[in-house]
Structure formats: C-alpha cells, structure tokens
C-alpha cells in the first residue's frame, strides 16, 4: 500500500497545502490583514528550531546516551527567560534599522561594515551548509525506509546510489524550487515573508503532532504507559545505562556546555534570527512566546526517551539505526498511516529548516557578499543600471539553488561519515562565534569594527581547526594522524587537545578555545582605539535602545529626484513609488514631489534600501547620490547619547582646556601689551598735557599780568599781547593735530583720492613756506624734481606731509647757512620723494623714535626740545598718511651729516580706496 508514488503524492500534497497557506497568508498580508500577527503563530514558527535533527535525531541521541539530548532544548528555554533583555532588544533594534539578517545585524552594528557582513555570511554558510545536508539525508533516508515497507531495511550507503536514483537529489531540487517560490516572490523592504512564516507555523504543528502521535503510540499502544517502559528498560542491562549519566565532572561540564551552546544557537542560527527577529511582526508577541516556545520544546521532547528505550528494546542491537526509531517503530507494528504521518512530520521538520535557513542565507549571500562585490566592479556598470530589483531576486534565487546544491554535494561526499552525524553541534559551535559580537554589540558601546572582525576571524579559525577539520579527519578526508599527532606532527597542535588542553569533550574544547580567542580578539582589538563616529552612532542605536532611531547619519541631502530612482532600481518602480508615497503621507504631504530634500528623506530611502540590499550596501548606494556635506563631527556627536556625548564632551573639554591654556597665554601677552599700551597712553596723555599746558602757562601769565597792572606801558603791552596771540595759535595747531592724528589712527579720516602731479604738490608746499625759509635765510633747493610723476592720493594730505617735512627740516637747519634739498624721482612701480637738510642729523637709535608721537630727535636726547614750532606730531601724522597710500616714510641720517627724509608712493594707487576705514 505504501508504494513510492503514495509517499511522493502525499509529500507533494503536503507541500501543496503548505504553499496554499503561504500564498493565502501573503495575500492577506498584502491587504493589510496579517494572518500571522499572533503570539501563537510567532511561537510556533520559532519551532523551526526543531529540525529533523530533533525529529529523528533526538531519539538517536537518547538511544546513545540517555538524557543527553535534553540540553539542546533547555538552552533555548533559558534564552527565552532572558527574552526581555536580549530578544526584545534585538527585535526593536532590527525593526528600527531594517535589519535583514544576522550578517546585516553585525555589519550594521559596527559602522555598516561590508567586510563584517561578508565575514559573518561566510561563517554562517560554512557552518550551516552541512546542517542542510543533514536535512536532505534525513528526508532521503526516511523516504527510502518507508518505501521498503513492510520490510525494515536501512538505506544503503549514500555513495552506492547512482546520482539520478538518489532521492536526496530530488529532495534538494524540490526544496530549492519550493524555497524560491516562498522566499523570492518579491522584494520587501523589511525582508519579511508572511506566507513563509505561516507555512512554518503550520509545519511546526504537523511535526509536533506527528511526534506526539508516535510517542502516544509507543507509550500507550505498545506499552502500558511511561512507567512500564522505564520499568522494562531498567530490567535490560544495556538499556538501563541510558537512564542516568556518568557521575563525572567532565560529563556535567559538557552538559553545561551544550545548554550554553544551544542557548546561543537558538538565537544566532540564521534561521532562528530570521524567524525570531526579522520576521517578527510585533515585538509584544514575544511576551507569550517566552513561555509558549519552551512549552513547544518541552512537548516535542516529552516522548523522546520512552521512544528511544522502546526502540532499543524492540530491535535487536545494531540492526536498526536509532535515528529511525520514530519511523521504524510504527512500521514494525504495521501502523502504515502513522508511519506516513511520521514521514510527513519529518518532511515538515526538514522543509521548515531548509526553507528558512536558505532564505536567510541567500539574503545574506546576496546582500552582504554578492552585491557589495558586484557594486565594486565598475566594469559591470551596475551603478548605472536603471532597475536592479530583478537582478537582486535573480541573485537570491541562484543563491538558494547553490546553497542547496552545496548541501547536496556535502551530503553526497560526506555520506555516512562522522561529519554528518555530529554536524548539528558543529553548526551550533560555528554560529556561537557570533555571540560575542552580537551580545557585545547590544550591551557594550566600545566594540569596534576591527575588534569584531578580529574576534570573528579568530573564533572561526579556531572553530574550523578544533572541530571542523577533525570531523573531516574522522570522515577520512584528512589523515588520521592529524587528530592523534597534530598538525605537522606537533603534539601541541593536536586539534582536539590544543596546547595540551585535555579532559574535555570536543565541543567544550572547541568552545573554550574559539570563544577565548573570539572574545580576546573582539575586546582586545576594540580597546585599541575609541570607536569612530560611525561606529559610535551605531553603538548608540544598538546599545542605547531603538528609540534614537530615525536620526540620519547623513549630513547632506538629496531630493526625491535622486532617491526615488535609486530605490526603484533595487525595489522596482512600483514598490518604490508606493513606499515614497507612504512616506510623503506620513509627513502630511499629498504627493511625492512635495517631499523636501532633507536628511529625513535620505534616511528613509536608506532604510528602504537596507531592507532590500542590506545596511552596508545601502549606505554605499545612498552615498553615491547624496551630496554629502562633510559630515561634521559635531553633527554626528549631537546624535549620540550618554557615552558618546560624554566622550564628545570630554573631547570638547580637552579642547576647551587646551584652548583655555592658549587663551591664558594669549591673555597674558595681551595683558602685557595692554599694560605697555596703557603706559604708552599714559605717557601720551602726560605729554599732550605738557604740550597743552606750556602755551597755556604763557598765556595765563601774560594775561594776568596785563590784567593786574593796567598801567603797563604800551611797548610791553604790545609785546605781551603778541606772545599771547602766537601761543594761542600754537595751542590751536596742537589741538588740530591731535584731533587729526586721532582721526587717522581710528580710520575715520576722509580721503579724496585723485591722480596727483607730485612736482606740483611739492612746489605748492614750498610756496606756502617761502616766508619762513626767507625769515631764517635757509636755502630751499627744488632742482632735483623730476616732472610728470603721478600718484593716486589725497591732495591735501600729501600737501600736509610735504609741509611737515619741509618745516621739520627748516626747524633743524642752522639759520643763514641752512640748506634744504628736495628731490623726486620715479621707478617703474613707485615715486620716491626726499627732503634732505644740513642740520645736526639724527642718531641711528632715534631713526624710528622720531616717528613716535611727541618725540623729537635732537642732540641725542629724547626730551622735547623745540618749543615754538613743533608739536611732535608732524612725523607720526605724515607716516600715517603715507602708509595709508601703501607707501613708506623713513629717515636716513648720521649725526652731524644732516638728515634725509624719504617717502615712496606707488605710481598706481593700488586698492587704497577699498581699505576698511578708508573714506570715499
């Protein structure tokens, strides 16, 4: 009755029903009425944890070593007790950041690193492909065994079956097709597959019911209850040993290790992460799943030990593989329907695992391995392609096919080898390598990309060396001596007693070394530097909870015009426009076009892309269109919370304190300068006071005397009044010059800049002083003036300079023999005017001093000498004027050899009138 076609038909019917459920769920989801939005469905879909390794393998393990199968299920129970701390957090993070896989999670956490995403993907693929092979083997074996009903025949060694008669090949092909149908119907930004989840939940029910049915049949059909089985087993010595464990610390050690290991595996296996985190519809579903999922595990394990014991007692030792007891016990009792149901249950376990695992892996391979590579190959022209959504789906489909192909290949090659039997735990140990970077990533902000890469790589290498390679060796693919004598025969390098660490089972040994290296690398390398801005931001998003999500990393902006086509390339135009439309509505806008080109839009687009191609690739793609203003460190820091802010703050503090130190020094200098200025100002005021008081003294004295004594004779009176008048003039001139200088110095002076003939101005100045020169009988020689020199300057000011210089010279030359010689000549760029005299000359030390206010050089002392004529302000004012026109004024002189004052002016007036503070 159970001919091959019946089994095949039943299988296809079952898969057909599953697909219908999936299609219906997808359909409902598209219409916004999710079928899977319930804690129960969530908890059941988590049952994907139980693969054929559970369905068939638990009994096998129990038959081999009693309750040794239990830790694999106690671990997840404990994990869910920690659900609030770990899972809930991861779900919130994943939702906020549109995480699509565990590779994406790790990559995103450490600054959206493509390298990390790729590394996690490679580890996951290497670690999990053999696990997929295990499923193929189980389905294929169960098919073969059931096909031989009513005989109970163990399947032939795998290699013995020709390729095209190998049912596993067809199983692999059918599963690939099924997975492609389930997983890659369309690209969803959140990378969620509601139909698949619904199907998986149903599969969980099927396998649980199937297993419970077998258990019930074995316990109550074949025996008189659980007590009966145990009582009978206790009577059979070789079976009784399975009832307890050896009382040795090592045994408890490996027991603990397995609990620990399965705790992580139930979180970090790609399929577990997919179902528990990515496919989660509502984080609150976790509430009930916290106990529903462990209950599911409890139920599916309820009859494992009784079935194992029954099998051991029923079949003569060595005739039937304990892994098949679930199937062969009903067969042995002619329960065809039950056996077929069990087969379907096993098929459920296998398909559930394969579908979710391959979808998860294909997403990782596509987003974190293939796309980043393709996008880096400019010659492919991908960056310019208009629509990449098809390509993405194509890559995923191929990834699914290839992963299953690899699984099958592994199954063919490994066959009955050791490697396949223990591969479940080897896979667990592989994904346990993700534990430090994932858990560290959500609890510790200090982790860096380099640390994560180092930890993962070190853990992976040690895992491969201590667990994977030995399993190859035990399968005969590597020389036996590798395990016994170590690599190159070096004892210390024995893979399962590395560096002489003995007394542990291989899993514990592997975990000790690999996690030690992993943690050491992760923490050690992370601590080498502070996280950079990008890592710190991601750390905040992951560790600080998801509440800060939505802040953009982008300092720049891009408009809808850039982002929509970009999104459309990966999501397809229709889906992209839909998403943008939703985004626009959520911001209270009517149309996509109204969306402003801001960071929020860029962030939204990046999130959409992240859902399709992973966060790392999304960042790269968005970066290609965003006109990123250099991302200010302050801007990034603003986004960060406590720790980062504290760090930013302390950095700021450090800078501030340095600034403060600098400022203090500057202040000290400034204070010094100020004090000097103050002293100078004091001196200046004192000097001004003196200069003003001196004429006032004469004026007051003569006025009082004239006032007191009206009888002063006329001659005296006239003389005194003349002095009063001249002192008043002197006083006025002084006041005018002080005001003039103040104006020049403060930049409030007014300038009228015109082209000026130098020769003409000099003559005019000389004319105005002719009387004074004649009075002192001093010769004024104007023969050295070149004609036709023109400068751009203020005519009156230039006159002032010339009058100053001439009267200054006149002041110091001796009467009668005095001689003042004026010269003017031009070079290509400037006009040079000189006023030479045959006076006493100026000491070299005073060459600059005389340009200070109220300092007049004479006789080598710095005290004021000339009284009636000079104010001591002429030279400083002249210098101010000449410098205003970009010229220089200086003196050349030696004591006793006369003095020569020179000034230059540019022949082109340059940009004088643009100067700040200048007039006109």
């Amino acid at each position: 009755m159970l001919q091959g076609w019946v089994i095949v038909l039943a299988s296809f019917l079952y898969l057909g029903v599953l697909f219908a459920i999936a299609w219906y769920a997808d359909h409902r989801s598209d219409h916004g009425r999710s079928l899977i939005a319930s804690p129960l469905v969530y908890a059941l879909s988590l049952g994907v944890y139980c693969t054929t390794w559970t369905f068939y393998g638990s009994v096998g393990r129990a038959a081999a070593n009693g309750i040794g199968f239990l830790p694999i299920y106690l671990g997840p129970t404990l994990l869910f007790a920690l659900g609030g701390f770990i899972l809930y957090r991861m779900i919130r993070i994943a939702k906020a950041n549109r995480i699509t896989s565990i590779a994406d999670f790790v990559a995103s956490r450490y600054g959206k690193s493509q390298l990390l995403g790729g590394l996690v993907t490679v580890i996951a693929v290497v670690g999990v492909i053999p696990y997929i092979a295990l499923q193929l083997k189980a389905v294929s074996n169960s098919f073969t065994i059931l096909g031989n009903y009513p005989e109970i025949v163990m399947p032939a060694a795998v290699g013995a079956v020709p390729l095209f008669q190998d049912s596993a090949l067809y199983v692999a092909m059918i599963l690939a097709a099924f997975t492609i149908l389930f997983g890659t119907r369309h690209l969803d930004a959140t990378e969620r597959h509601e139909g698949m989840v619904a199907a998986i939940a149903v599969e969980s029910v099927v396998k649980l019911v199937a297993f419970l049915a077998v258990g019930a049949f074995v316990v109550w059909g074949m025996h008189d209850g659980v007590g009966d089985i145990f009582a009978r087993a206790a009577a059979v010595p070789e079976v009784a040993t399975r009832l307890d464990r050896a009382d040795a610390p090592a045994a408890y050690g490996s027991w603990g290790t397995l609990i620990f290991l399965s705790l992580f595996a139930s979180l970090l296996l790609p399929r577990q992460f997919q179902i528990a985190v990515v496919e989660n519809v509502d984080a609150t579903h976790l509430n009930r799943a916290v106990w529903l999922f462990p209950l599911y595990l409890f139920l599916i394990n309820l009859f494992v030990l009784p079935v194992a014991l029954a099998g051991l007692m029923h079949f003569p030792p060595g005739t039937v593989d304990a892994d098949t007891f679930v199937l062969t016990l009903p067969m042995a009792h002619q329960q065809e329907t039950l056996a077929l149901f069990v087969f379907i249950g096993g098929l459920s376990a296998a398909t559930g695992m394969v579908i979710v695992e391959t979808i998860a892996l294909s997403t990782m391979v596509c987003n974190d391995l293939v796309m980043p590579l393709l996008l880096r190959m400019p010659w492919l022209g991908l960056a310019a392609k208009a629509d990449l959504s098809g390509l993405l789906l194509e890559i995923r489909r191929w990834a699914i096919a290839i992963i299953l192909g690899l699984g099958y290949l592994y199954f063919r090659v490994a066959g009955e080898a050791y490697a396949l039997v223990s591969i479940g735990l080897i896979s667990f140990a592989a994904v346990a390598q993700f534990a430090p970077v994932v858990l560290g990533g959500i609890f510790w902000k200090g982790g860096t990309r380099d640390g994560a890469v180092a930890g993962l790589a070190a853990g992976f290498v040690l895992w491969a060396y201590t667990l994977l390679l030995p399993s190859f060796a035990k399968s005969g693919w590597l020389p036996e001596g590798f395990i016994a004598h170590g690599l190159f025969g070096i004892e210390l390098l024995r893979p399962q007693q590395l560096f002489g660490l003995g007394g542990l089972d291989e899993i514990t040994h592997c975990l000790v070394w690999s996690l030690l290296a992993n943690l050491g690398g992760y923490i050690g390398i992370s601590l080498l530097r502070v996280p950079n801005a990008r890592e710190a931001r991601q750390a905040t998003l992951f560790v600080g909870g998801a509440d800060v999500a939505g802040h953009s990393m982008w300092g720049g902006s891009a408009g809808v015009g850039d982002l929509l086509p970009l999104a459309a390339r990966f999501l397809g135009r229709e889906r992209a426009e839909e998403a943008f439309q939703r985004h626009a509505r959520s911001r209270g806008l009517r149309a996509i076009d109204e969306l402003p080109a801001d960071a929020r839009l860029v962030n939204f687009a990046e999130n959409q892309l992240a859902g399709a191609i992973g966060s790392a690739s999304a960042r790269v793609m968005v970066a290609s269109v965003v006109k990123e203003e250099p991302l200010g460190i302050d801007e990034v820091m603003n986004i960060l919370d406590e720790a980062s802010q504290v760090r930013a703050y302390s950095r700021e503090l450090e800078e501030k304190s340095q600034e403060l130190t600098r400022a203090t020094a500057e202040l000290r200098d400034a204070n010094e300068r100020l004090r000097e200025l103050d002293r100078m100002k004091d001196d200046f005021i004192s000097t001004v006071t003196h200069e003003l008081r001196t004429p006032l003294t004469s004026i007051r004295a003569f006025s009082e005397m004239l006032h007191e004594d009206p009888k002063t004779d006329l001659e005296q009176r006239t003389k005194f009044l003349g002095i009063i008048v001249s002192e008043t003039v002197r006083l006025s001139r002084l006041i005018n010059q002080i005001l003039d200088l103040a104006k020049l110095e403060s930049g409030r002076a007014e300038w009228t800049v015109t082209a000026i003939d130098v020769d003409e101005v000099i003559h005019e100045a000389a004319d105005s002083l002719t009387a004074l020169f004649a009075e002192k009988r001093v010769t004024l020689d104007l023969s050295g003036l070149d004609k036709g020199l023109t400068v751009m300057a203020d005519r009156d000011r230039l006159m002032q300079v010339m009058v100053n210089l001439l009267s200054n010279a006149l002041k110091f030359v001796p009467a009668d023999s005095g001689m003042v010689r004026v010269g003017a000549e031009g070079t290509a760029s400037e006009v040079r005017v000189s006023v030479g005299d045959n006076g006493p000359g100026i000491h070299a030390d005073d060459h600059e001093v005389i340009f200070d206010k109220f300092r007049q050089g004479s006789g080598g002392t710095d005290v004021l000498t000339d009284k009636p004529q000079g104010t001591g302000l002429g030279l400083p004012i002249s210098r101010q004027i000449i410098e205003y026109f970009n010229g220089r004024l200086w003196v050349e002189s030696a004591p006793g050899a006369g003095a020569r004052f020179l000034f230059t002016l540019p022949r082109q007036a340059g940009d004088n009138d643009k100067k700040t503070g200048g007039g006109t």
């Binding site: 009693g66 309750i67 239990l70 830790p71 106690l74 129970t77 404990l78 869910f80 007790a81 920690l82 659900g83 609030g84 701390f85 809930y88 209850g225 659980v226 007590g227 009966d228 145990f230 009582a231 206790a234 009832l243 307890d244 464990r245 009382d247 610390p249 408890y252 050690g253 027991w255 603990g256 609990i259 609150t284 976790l286 509430n287 009930r288 916290v290 106990w291 462990p294 209950l295 409890f298 309820l302 030990l305």
Partner: protein, 66 residues
C-alpha cells in the same frame, strides 16, 4: 509586559533558577538509580523542573499583562 523592568527581572531570575536546576551540582543529587513516579529520578527531575520553570515564566508574563 516584557517591557516592564520588573517582569524582565523576574524572568531573569527564572533564568538563573533554570541555570541552577539544569546543571551540576544540583543534577548530581538526582543522578542515581531508583524510580520516581515510574521514571528515573534524573529524568523526572529535569522534565519536572523544566515544566515548572515554563509554568513560572508563563505566570510571570501573563499575570502582569494588562
């Protein structure tokens, strides 16, 4: 709700409890021959404490549900 801190802490307490229940040295107490409700003591202990733990988790989560 799992979001409330107290619930999370209660669950974490159950986690610790489970770690103790399921591990050495407590296990060694039950690791002996004999029979409890017709089952070997170790098996009975593990399945019993497991289901009790699940019940406690359910109690903690469901009781605090609004």
């Amino acid at each position: 709700m799992i979001r409330t801190r107290l619930t999370s802490q209660r669950l974490a307490f159950l986690f610790l409890l489970g770690c103790i229940f399921f591990n050495y040295p407590l296990l060694s107490i039950f690791n002996k021959s004999g029979s409890f409700l017709g089952m070997p003591p170790l098996f009975a202990w593990l399945m019993g404490s497991w289901v009790v733990l699940i019940a406690l988790m359910a109690f903690v989560v469901e009781r605090t549900r609004d």
